[in-house]
Symmetry: C2
Subunit: 528 residues, 2 copies
Amino acid sequence: MIDGSMQHFPLTLDRILDHAAKWHGDVEVATAGEGGAIGRVDYAGLHSRARRISHLLAGLGVQTGERVATLAWNSQAHVESWYAIMGMGAVCHTLNPRLTPPQLAWMLAQSGARILIVSADLMPLALKVLDDAPGVARVFVIDGEVASPDFGSAQIAALEPLVAQGNDDFAWGAFEETAPSGLCFTSGSTGAPKGVSYTHRSSFLHTLRLLQADVSGITSADVVMPVVPMFHANAWGLPFAVPAAGAKLVLPGRHLDGASLARLIGAEGVTIAVGVPTVWLGLCDHLDATGTHLPSLKRILVGGASMPPALMERIEKQLGIPVQTSWGMTELSPVGTFGVLSNPERDAAISGRPALGMDLLLMDERGDPLPEQRDVEGRLHVRGAAVIDRYFGQERSATTEDGWFDTGDLARIDRQGNLMITGRAKDLIKSGGEWINPAEIEALVGALPQVSLAAVIGRSDVKWGERPLLLVELREDQEISDAELLASLRGQVASWWIPDAVVRVDAMPRGSTGKIDKLQLRTAYSGN
Amino acid sequence: MIDGSMQHFPLTLDRILDHAAKWHGDVEVATAGEGGAIGRVDYAGLHSRARRISHLLAGLGVQTGERVATLAWNSQAHVESWYAIMGMGAVCHTLNPRLTPPQLAWMLAQSGARILIVSADLMPLALKVLDDAPGVARVFVIDGEVASPDFGSAQIAALEPLVAQGNDDFAWGAFEETAPSGLCFTSGSTGAPKGVSYTHRSSFLHTLRLLQADVSGITSADVVMPVVPMFHANAWGLPFAVPAAGAKLVLPGRHLDGASLARLIGAEGVTIAVGVPTVWLGLCDHLDATGTHLPSLKRILVGGASMPPALMERIEKQLGIPVQTSWGMTELSPVGTFGVLSNPERDAAISGRPALGMDLLLMDERGDPLPEQRDVEGRLHVRGAAVIDRYFGQERSATTEDGWFDTGDLARIDRQGNLMITGRAKDLIKSGGEWINPAEIEALVGALPQVSLAAVIGRSDVKWGERPLLLVELREDQEISDAELLASLRGQVASWWIPDAVVRVDAMPRGSTGKIDKLQLRTAYSGN
């Protein structure tokens, strides 16, 4: 006892909103509603309202560690519910409305949530889910009116009147920092979805990583609009990082078209807009068509999918602002690397560098570290304070014995430490005993002006084991022959990488997060 | 076991240098030596050299938790020793060479250090200390030659040859994140010095706080020069934060005059220079006299004492760069608040806002929180992840029951959450039952062009209990009458705050950290 000591300060997420309410109490959270209406609250108000929801949930018997589910868009009410659930030590289980009712019911059965918080316009979906989710006893509706009577054994009520009358005299945070705070199932484009359990500590440390000047660089002078949904890997951690920095938070609700986003950015003075690449295509098209300018916008942060170089160039040219790339996964809370703001070199292929608290290692197919880690391709493994150790409901560790999590991605790291994702390990095609990386072929064909989307899968072949097959979706009113498509690859890849055949599809099948669903393509075209 | 889990990632300081070596391995640490020579190493090299020192110390039987002392300037060799000691789980006890030999010997007896690492030019001081420090068995000399034979029972050897021949095959980090990592005694201008024990966790979280865009905002593109010494509250945490960000570190060694600093800033491309206000006075004078420009410098970060507004204005005008103010204490690891970079309003009186992980509370004299926390003066208390709980060797907590540490400072916090330190509680003068704050009078008199330094202390008074006495040190070749000095206060403070008498001193007594030593002034002039 004589060494002296520093204060015990548990890294729990309730402290983030406590901090925002005390030190940035009059900074706003603005939410886009229907017909251009904007809902507003400040952090002091949001803090009080979130505690009232905790009070309500505690009155319904919600216990520490219990899962409470949400099925909702990015809105003030969703953020309030999220902090209410986590602040009281329960677990916020975010559901993705782009999944099917059976998938959602299965996830609810896994998490055992008794209470479900739903955006009003998602109630038709929720009612279908409830059919197969007998465990759900209470439904609270946010962001709209209650249009349905109670359903089976589930009581349905609007949340807002209960918040308005509620009592915010509720103490947050009487639990360990290693307590679980969130649950998010991966999209599961291969096999059953797997649940990732976030802890207070892991998301708090993720927040501190995000706030570094060379990561998100968010300051109290910023106005941040996360278009990436809260049900998709915590909206990349922004509902934590933005209040933590004392920045204004702008939530787009459900309308993510170019016109809606442009209006919101202009009206609220957004400085940093965050979302998957395709969202910004719609914004650019709208700005082009209307001649609108967005002078407040300082940068666009992209992730969740590879960034098409042409789109990056278009945004940077048209808006005159930098695009910051990133790479992450649900299992990483979700940010792995961020393009480094202070680095003048930008490239759509570079996903940035890891900041303190995140480490990367390239391994070979057998799971041994590559002797040389720079300028070679390997299977990307990660380790860190916000990286999964074990999936929800599983006993087996998700890491190697040395604690490395296999991302399933193929990657290169250059001499400066920049990460480039080069493909998915499971998408590799083995032809004549050698590997073909479909991602490299897709990038080349996808860069053709006539092509909207390209996918390459392996097709069974008696002689070679597998041979690559190219699938393309063309842009509207565009034409290109099979020969021209394949000719674009000559000299760019090894000749035996060039696909044997081309298939045209009207619309690529997509998964719940918007990525091309290769599982569907393989089922239809691989010949297995 | 079914909830799933995130990875265990202990927040230990060895990971910071591991990260820098792996991800910013070719970024340099440059140290100013004698005669303009610059020593250089990169983070990969520094990492290897630090492990060799750990290997050496382990060979001498250094155990986890054991204190190893340093008496050294800011240099590469000191940073290597610091990481070597902390990385192996021992405790780096930094000694301040501005203290007296008996004080240093007393501190060594407290910490029980058996090994002392000393800058060559501090060996004369070290030998005097060894006289009274029989526990020290080994002395390693850095940054120069060994000029002394062994002393008493202490063996004296140069460190460099042992590092050069050393073996870096040493595994760091096999201890808990709550293990102690550092020990620093406060300057103790009142009463005996008290030791602050830092832990790996507290300094790691302090580093993450410092790296926020709205705190130090250090990026991998920066070149940071900490003029503030490592023996003074960890050089404000920069030996951790700079490698963590992958920025270049420039160490000024022992020569802190304006000409030496200007040469180093210019030669090494320093972008952020960090130190107490008076250091920059010398730099400004040198630039003035020589017409030198420092184009690389982007900002100056000050702390450790209140910032004279005239000096701040001079720096900002002469160098054309912002001055970032801060406030901290040894007990806070040491940063409390930082001027917010994204806030366009700057003022020498504003010490900034607390970032996530640090909280402030104003209390009254009885230790009750003030009902209104904004725009009123109170006694500043703090709470956070890098704040002291208990001093070294003491059983009693250093905090209130609610966990708040009393800083001893008087402060105001404005509506925007900006902290202004208004005085020291123990310096307050009680006159006729009412309080007089000397700091306010000192700021007014200190702003006069003729005055170099001003101090106000209480002098015993039969009628009023205490009355204020003004002590001034004038600038060279300047004159001002007592009547003019006191007249400057009329209309600025209450009439009864105006001192009854003025004393001229040739040189204000200073403490070991350069602050005015009021204890000496009181002994000589208070009449008690």
